[in-house]
């Protein structure tokens, strides 16, 4: 649910619940986007990583 949905109410509970959800989804999304873009960049540049 987003703040522009008709069910949305500007109260603490909505902000905490959905804020937590978006926070987690953003970290996951940004993290994966970073990994994919960097992998494309490294591949084009011919850099090879090494595993741990």
């Amino acid at each position: 649910m987003f703040p522009f949905s008709f069910e949305w109410i500007w109260d603490t509970v909505h902000m905490v619940f959905h804020g937590g959800l978006w926070y987690a989804l953003n970290i996951i999304g940004i993290g994966m986007t970073y990994c994919i873009i960097k992998a494309v960049y490294d591949t084009v540049k011919g850099n090879g990583g090494h595993h741990h």
């Binding site: 619940f17 987690a24 993290g31 970073y34 990583g49």
Partner: protein, 447 residues
């Protein structure tokens, strides 16, 4: 036939033998899938759930696998955040077990909701006053995190790793895994806790209701604590079982003992808190609601004091004392007993908090109501076990799950000209083979 896909330097059984065993597991899996489709096509009348048991075998299985899968978040926390680097040798397997447990939990929920096509309602039309909404949010997000933690392992397959983009992606994901692990620990803390909070806030059911710290009942903290304690025990148990089936050692003892020690102290502190909680509930909370301890454990055909003793003493204190003592922890038989009891203990706890809560009469004119699951419920509950065995078998065969396997299981190779055989680490053996093969070839420069 599939040699090219098997990790370098390890030995696996022949493909026909592997497919034979996998086929047997698929029969069980198929049984569960048939029951699952019966529930989806014909509806929840296929189950023995009723007005008393809106939560039944599925929800118990759900809570149990989520607790047992807690090894993934807690081991990740220890390795990536606290810096217990030795655990890198078991973290892959902990993640795999967590992935299986959480995907199973979501699968069970997918059957239980009855209308899976409306599953997205909980995200869009969220009831923000429900602990279960928090569980749905965190569970789904944490499953994404587990997929991200499991993906690099899949990408490290011998053939996939040859693709430069895949190799780089896997490498980059390893680089920032600590961020995902921290997010996973955050999400796990809340969804494990909220699952416990569900029973703890039900003041109309004195068997489950507990005192609160601010808005959180004691069960909120006890659930997270028990998952962090018993999840790693389950990881050790499954690792030990895998070693038995693979007939080889896969993880060094010092790694297992370290995880067992940490899990032991978590279990020890948990069981102290659980005992205090139980005593306070029996002496203060339950009497305040007009009930007595005896009314929860007598006058019925199944639930007696035995289940309380089983959960807290036999599956709580006993494994905790075994695991915190170095001598007993390092005894293989006692370690097996301790991790098995701990895993059993957390499943008994979830059973009690899901099913005994509903069985206890709450009004003067009510009787105990016991419940027997239908075969469809049993089959769909066994389905995740067959699914888990399948995923473990495939992952173990084709992915580098155990980093110490090569070192612990050197492959027998032909020895020096005098005859006989000698053992060398498998990777070294392969390098030697490659060197031998290369000796006959002229390199471009030499040519």
């Amino acid at each position: 036939m599939d040699d090219a896909l098997i990790p370098k330097g390890v030995k696996r059984c022949p493909l026909p033998q592997f497919l034979g065993v996998l086929g047997v597991v698929q029969i069980v899996l198929l049984w569960g899938v048939v029951a699952m489709f019966m529930c989806w096509i014909k509806g929840l009348n296929q189950t023995n759930m009723n007005s008393y048991y809106g939560f039944a075998l599925w929800i118990w299985a759900d809570l149990a696998v989520i607790a047992l899968g807690g090894g993934a978040f807690f081991t990740g926390l220890l390795k990536y955040i606290i810096g217990k680097d030795e655990l890198k040798y078991i973290i892959n397997y902990a993640v795999l077990i967590g992935f299986i447990c959480y995907s199973s939990a979501l699968m069970i929920l997918g059957i239980d909701v009855g209308q899976p096509l409306r599953g997205w309602f909980i995200f869009w039309h969220a009831n923000v006053h429900s602990m279960l909404t928090e569980v749905a949010f965190c569970l789904t997000c944490y499953f994404f995190v587990l997929c991200i933690e499991y993906l690099p392992l899949v990408l490290e397959n011998r053939q996939l790793d040859k693709v430069p983009f895949v190799h780089n992606l896997s490498h980059n994901m390893h680089e920032i895994m600590a961020i995902f692990a921290a997010t996973g620990a955050f999400l796990s803390f809340f969804h494990q806790g909220s699952l416990g909070g569900v029973t703890g806030v039900m003041f109309a059911r004195p068997f489950g209701f507990r005192e609160h710290i601010l808005i959180w009942p004691f069960t909120f903290f006890l659930y997270t604590w028990s998952a962090a304690a018993c999840g790693p025990c389950f990881t050790i148990l499954v690792t030990k079982l895998t070693e038995v089936f693979a007939r080889k050692k896969l993880v060094k003892d010092n790694v297992i003992h370290l995880l067992a020690k940490i899990a032991g102290w978590m279990l020890f502190t948990y069981i102290i808190a659980k005992t205090i909680d139980t005593v306070y509930w029996a002496v203060v909370t339950a009497p305040a609601s007009g009930t007595m301890l005896g009314s929860f454990y007598t006058n019925n055909a199944f639930y007696g004091y035995w289940i309380l003793i089983l959960e807290i003493v036999i599956c709580g204190w006993v494994p905790a004392l075994i695991l915190i003592n170095r001598k007993t922890r390092e005894n293989n038989t006692l370690l097996w007993i301790a991790v098995s009891l701990a895993a059993l203990g957390v499943t008994v706890n979830r059973w009690v908090m899901v099913l005994q809560v509903l069985a206890v009469p709450v009004l003067p004119f009510e009787e105990w109501v016991l419940y027997l699951p239908s075969w469809q419920e049993v089959a769909t509950t066994i389905l995740p076990v067959a699914y888990g065995v399948t995923v473990i078998m495939i992952s173990y065969r084709y992915l580098p799950i155990f980093p110490q396997e090569i070192e612990l299981n050197p492959i027998e190779t032909e020895g020096p000209p005098e005859g006989g055989t000698e053992s060398v680490p498998a990777q070294e053996a392969e390098t030697q083979e490659e060197e031998k093969a290369g000796e006959g070839d002229l390199q471009p420069a030499e040519a």
